[in-house]
Amino acid sequence: MTQAVVPVSPAGQTTETTNPRRGDRAGKNRAPRSWRGWGFVGPFMLVFALVFIAPIAYSLYISVFRTQLVGGTQFVGLDNYIRAFQDPQFWDGVGRVSLFLVVQVPIMLGIAMLVALAIDSGRLYGKDFFRISVFMPYAVPAVVAALMWGFMYGPRFGLVGYINEFFGWSIPNPLGPQWILLAIGNIVTWSFVGYNMLIFYSSLRTIPVSLYEAAELDGAKQHHVIRHIKMPAIRGSIAVAMIFSIIGSFQLFNEPSILQKLAPNSITTYFTPNLYTYNLSFSGQQYNYAAAVAIIMGVFTMVIAYVVQLRGMRKDA
């Protein structure tokens, strides 16, 4: 409660503070402060230091150097960062993922929310079938999702050509340069709608029935219940879903990377910042500059995720 960083976090309400609302369960019997807990947390933190903290430190370190064929590696201060801020290819990618973020994320979360509310309302025939089926695409790897949709979009044995021929329509090629972002947005939405639906649904299920009964006694209509009981109750999980979606948008890589083979003319080497980082590193051997770009994107992501989190908390209070 007191110092929770994420709206639904357990921090500070476990054994650290005596929470009046659940004092009889956790607060009274709190464990004495000692080093024993490290025995359990230690292994995680050890590996965490190796695969998270060390690489971040290492990329900070290499980002202030430059390696050249002639002259070797030399310290260049913030040059790589300045270069990134003046790099039109970097900004092109940032603009593209930002556009993706403001269009795709609201659509995806909106659909997920509507389906979660519909399933939770108990008015669907066969609601278990709905819940499990809508979630199913989450289990499909990004590679398979992108290949599958790519084939369906594609000219070779795609559906679009058939539909155009059959109905006499002229739907443009989804893999063309103008539509490729939309095509990718559709793949990502397809993959994650069910996952987000499940997050919302799980938190709707935690609302005590007594609240609905009280609302019924007061003669509240369904839309009142949604607005005044359901939405406030799942605000925390909306914030969590948004943070994960923002991170996902900014690190967009898999789908464009795979579709590149099917639509080489539509997806540039700097299509998203991550694709740019990847190509800088592995085609261009510009590891130092790539590290700087990756750090800038990481900071962007954290700042935006943090702002969303703060807003979510303020509404929460």
């Binding site: 994420v6 639904v8 921090a11 476990t14 054994t15 956790a26 019997n29 464990a31 807990g37 359990f40 947390v41 292994p43 590996v47 190796l50 695969v51 998270f52 690489p55 290492y58 990329s59 509507l114 519909a118 939770d120 309302s121 008015r123 669907l124 025939y125 499990i132 089926s133 809508v134 979630f135 199913m136 695409p137 289990a139 499909v140 990004a142 590679v143 398979v144 599958m148 949709w149 369906m152 044995f157 559906l159 058939y162 709608v193 938190s203 709707l204 299920r205 029935v209 007594s210 019924e216 369904q222 999980s237 991170i247 690190q251 795979i258 083979k261 980082t277 590891y287 990756a294 990481g298």
Partner: protein
């Protein structure tokens, strides 16, 4: 019986959900807070999303029964001239000296060691964070939550550079070690352990002279089972579906997981002189997703209860 108060019987006023609750209000009404009237219109509207989710999977299933000429010449949702599913599966498994089976074995190894290890670390860590107070605890929370926001792909390049200096790239370790950390899994176990393991029970075990390790193994671990299944499933999906990490770490096709292998098969068509094997890409895709979908269906009772616990507020 049927003539209850009119307000309670109209659909607009029956708000709610089927769940076991206080029996006192439920007893006499046909459509109550617990059992609202079913609605066809809402079902049909929601079915649009259901179709959206299932149609591509149906396409994959239908396409994997077609031969390559049929794939190119027939409509996506109609079956081809011949039913070639089993032939396709046999071809997929046999192609290039059975490399697909090798990729499958690699994927299983990455899942068992990577996802299994990640789950183990998350259980231990989540339990420690939920049930103990120790110096540095708040710092851990801040660092781990902050780490969730760091794009995995932004980490992968420095991870690659570090691992290549340690001589670990192009070995299975380069995929397994980074898979061992699941901040989301840790967070889920932390929330779950807070609710699932009563501190009184731990105290009782300690009174009886049990060591911390024994208290954990015999008291806490059984109570954590639903959360464990949830975390295991999600880390399994993450590892099974991992693409970026193995893409940069591995050069040798002998160590590829299924995802990278399928992508390589697909790329083969666009390389000069490469043989187009779309039938194998499609059948291979189907074979890649079947185990995961089966796992989710079979274990749904566990992971859904685990997820619910993970999202409990308060």
């Amino acid at each position: 019986m049927t003539t209850t108060t009119p307000t309670a019987a109209t659909p607009a006023a029956t708000t709610g959900k089927p769940r076991s609750a206080s029996p006192r209000l439920r007893s006499r009404k046909t459509h109550s807070v617990d059992k609202p009237r079913r609605n066809w219109l809402l079902t049909v509207l929601t079915a649009i999303v259901l179709l959206y989710a299932l149609v591509p999977l149906a396409w994959l299933l239908i396409s994997s029964t077609k031969t390559q000429p049929d794939l190119l010449s027939t409509f996506g949702f109609s079956f081809g001239e011949s039913f070639a599913l089993f032939e396709n599966i046999a071809n997929t498994l046999a192609y290039d000296d059975g490399i697909f089976l090798r990729w499958l074995a690699n994927t299983l190894m990455y899942v068992v060691l990577g996802a299994g290890g990640a789950t183990l670390l998350a259980i231990l860590g989540g339990y420690g964070l939920a049930k103990f107070t120790f110096p540095g605890k708040r710092a851990i929370f801040a660092v781990v939550i902050g780490a969730v926001a760091v794009p995995g792909t932004a980490l992968a390049v420095p991870q690659f550079l570090m691992f290549s200096q340690m001589g670990l790239t192009n070995t299975p370790w380069s995929v397994i070690i980074p898979s061992l950390i699941s901040p989301f899994g840790l967070y889920l176990m932390w929330t779950f352990a807070t609710q699932a393991v009563p501190t009184e029970l731990m105290e009782a075990a300690r009174m009886d002279g049990a060591s911390e390790a024994r208290t954990f193994a015999q008291v806490a671990l059984p109570l954590l089972a639903p959360g464990t299944v949830t975390v295991l499933l999600f880390t399994t999906v993450a590892t099974w579906n991992n693409y970026f990490l193995p893409l940069i770490m591995l050069k040798d096709p002998q160590w590829y997981p299924l995802t990278i292998g399928l992508n390589a098969w697909n790329a083969q068509a666009s390389t000069v002189g490469g043989q187009a094997i779309f039938d194998l890409v499609i059948t291979g895709s189907l074979l890649t997703i079947v185990p995961l979908i089966a796992a989710f269906l079979l274990l749904q009772r566990y992971w859904q209860s685990g997820l619910t616990a993970g999202s409990v507020k308060e």
